[in-house]
Amino acid sequence: MEILVILVPLALMLGLAGLVAFLWSLRSGQYDDLDGAAWRAISDDDPPPEAPVKL
């Protein structure tokens, strides 16, 4: 049962990481345009290149 001392904090850390990720995504405006995001995900063509890409 001593393993709990490691596993429980570990589980909590993982949960906390999830929360931090959520708060970060909220702050960076990823929930501002949910309709648009839904379409962007399945859009076929590439978005206009921000800078010329050299192959």
Partner: protein, 729 residues
Amino acid sequence: MQVTRDFSHYVRAAGAGLQHIDLAVEGVHCAGCMAKIERGLSTIPDVTLARVNLTDRRVALEWKQGTLDPLSFIDRLEELGYKAYPYETESAEATEVAESRFLLRCLGVAAFATMNVMMLSIPVWSGNVSDMLPEQRDFFHWLSALIALPAAAYAGQPFFRSAWRALSNKTTNMDVPISIGVCLALGMSVVETIDHAEHVYFDAAIMLLTFLLVGRFLDQNMRRRTRAVAGNLAALKAETAAKFVGPDEISQVPVAAIHSGDIVLLRPGERCAVDGTVIEGRSEIDQSLITGETLYVTAEHGTAVYAGSMNISGTLRVRVSAASEATLLAEITRLLENALQARSRYMRLADRASQLYAPVVHATALITILGWVIAGASWHDAIVTGVAVLIITCPCALGLAIPTVQTIASGAMFKAGVLLNSGDAIERLAEADHVIFDKTGTLTLRDLEVTNAADIPADVFGLAGRLALSSHHPVAAAVAQAAGARSPIVGSVEEAGQGVRAVVDGVEIRVGRPSFCGAEALVVGADLDPEASVVAFSRGAEKFILSVRQGLRPDAKDVIAALKARNIGIEILSGDREPAVIAAAHALGIAEWRAGVTPADKIARIEELKQRGVKVLMVGDGMNDAPSLAAAHVSMSPISAAHLSQATADLVFLGRPLAPVVVAIDAARKALHLMRQNLWLAIGYNLLAVPVAISGVVTPLIAAAAMSGSSILVMLNSLRTRRRAREIV
């Protein structure tokens, strides 16, 4: 005179030598539009960011400072086929956005805590029936407390604040029992943890917050979205004014950039965007948006003009004044304030429910405690049972019962072109059993139409339309539009306030006032609509007359019939003259009408109906309707309404048809029915759960299962509106 367009008011610095502007764009519906706009704008050199927001129908643009004029973006979008206009975030919308984000953050924290506390609770529940050591259980309980307490302190803020506000106003709302329930559950759990007890309720308390925050967030998000759409519509009206920037130089600037004391130019055919006083010029103006009167009024030096007035014939110079200076507005504002105060007394269904609910629940808990003490239990055990009663009755389902239905119903209305200004409007609209319509601009459209086009030979009508293209007069514009004219006649001459003339194939043609065309004889003989303006057309010796008036909304008759079928009383209260009102009432089959009514009279009539217990829905658009919109039980106005009326109305509907009125009433009635059903579901659940709690056999497992079960049941029941809403729309 030199005219420029100036959008610098909307441009703001975006740091590092960049400038930023937000544009509201019309007609962006799909991924295709999004890609097209972004690609189209990105090809402009020096543009560093072009991103479409499909939810709010806006484009954010950034470019290198000083290289581009915002005008070029609007022109570019025009080429792509989209109408766009700079958009400025109002403070009201900014608040909604901030609130929405805050709720989402609370929800994230609460959901994180719920999941983790649940992860710790399930081992305890299963350990309690097997071989868990008391030390291990205490360890898990302390960990739960460590997560749940700070999370609840943060995520519970929306409820605690609202409950505190209600209590300090000596009222109560649904958030009061919620806050008490959560705090007691947490407090008792801490005490029990210290006592090494078996049962703690951290999971129940934090789960309750999560469920309630879902409802709260959905509700807020709907409101934010409505506000964004309303903001876009306002921006796309592109209200500008021609402001004098030099003695002989004018600049077309957005209304937001006009200040009191500025002098603006008002040309014929333009709608005034500001309030002010005429200082130079003479003209006729159409004040129908202000007073409901369709006859033109003469404007000269010293005449007060209001935003929404249409200038008809001459050019005016107007000195802008602060809105409240004008006498008519002051009167309307006073009436409006009185009416708004009266309205705030309305009790929402949720508040009514909580006023009944809270005392009953708290009394039950108290009786439980006393009952167990009398029956011989220790104070400690009795209080634990009492708190368990409060936890199990904590109005989780009750808190969700109304917002979930509201969210879905307002979404359905949104699709049908109805925007909600206030959440409780749905309840009030569902109760309405009498509709009062304003005539001008509500039953009729603002656009003028030619009523006797069928009586005139098509080639003559077409020629009259082409000639009319050369004039800015709104009546001439209506003739040109009705005739579908595209190419103006070369060499046509406009005589101000009279008409237009030209020579075609050696014959002189004229369109304008009957006297201008020598057609007075025809007008005297004809049986004309009393409301119509008469335009004459002459080709040599041939004379024709055209009757131009504001047409009824295309589906007005069907809507009135549909309302009658629903047993809703209908009447017209108009500020317009009697003949005009009779004509509309007759055409629509409305028996009850009053003409020449002042704003105060309208309110008096609404009060009279209120005394009789009638719940009035007021539908109006003029500035003179604003006080009665506020005084009525519930109110609607078309999007073409005066600003003040739109801001006062509970619901705003878009487009030319009147049908949204009926759609909104139907949707609201269904929604109210579901809200009541949800409340009964929640009460029924409590009736089942409370005896179990009173008997003292509730464990945290039962509390958690019962709570989530009832919340999910209520949510699923609300989703039924959505299926029905699809049938309507």
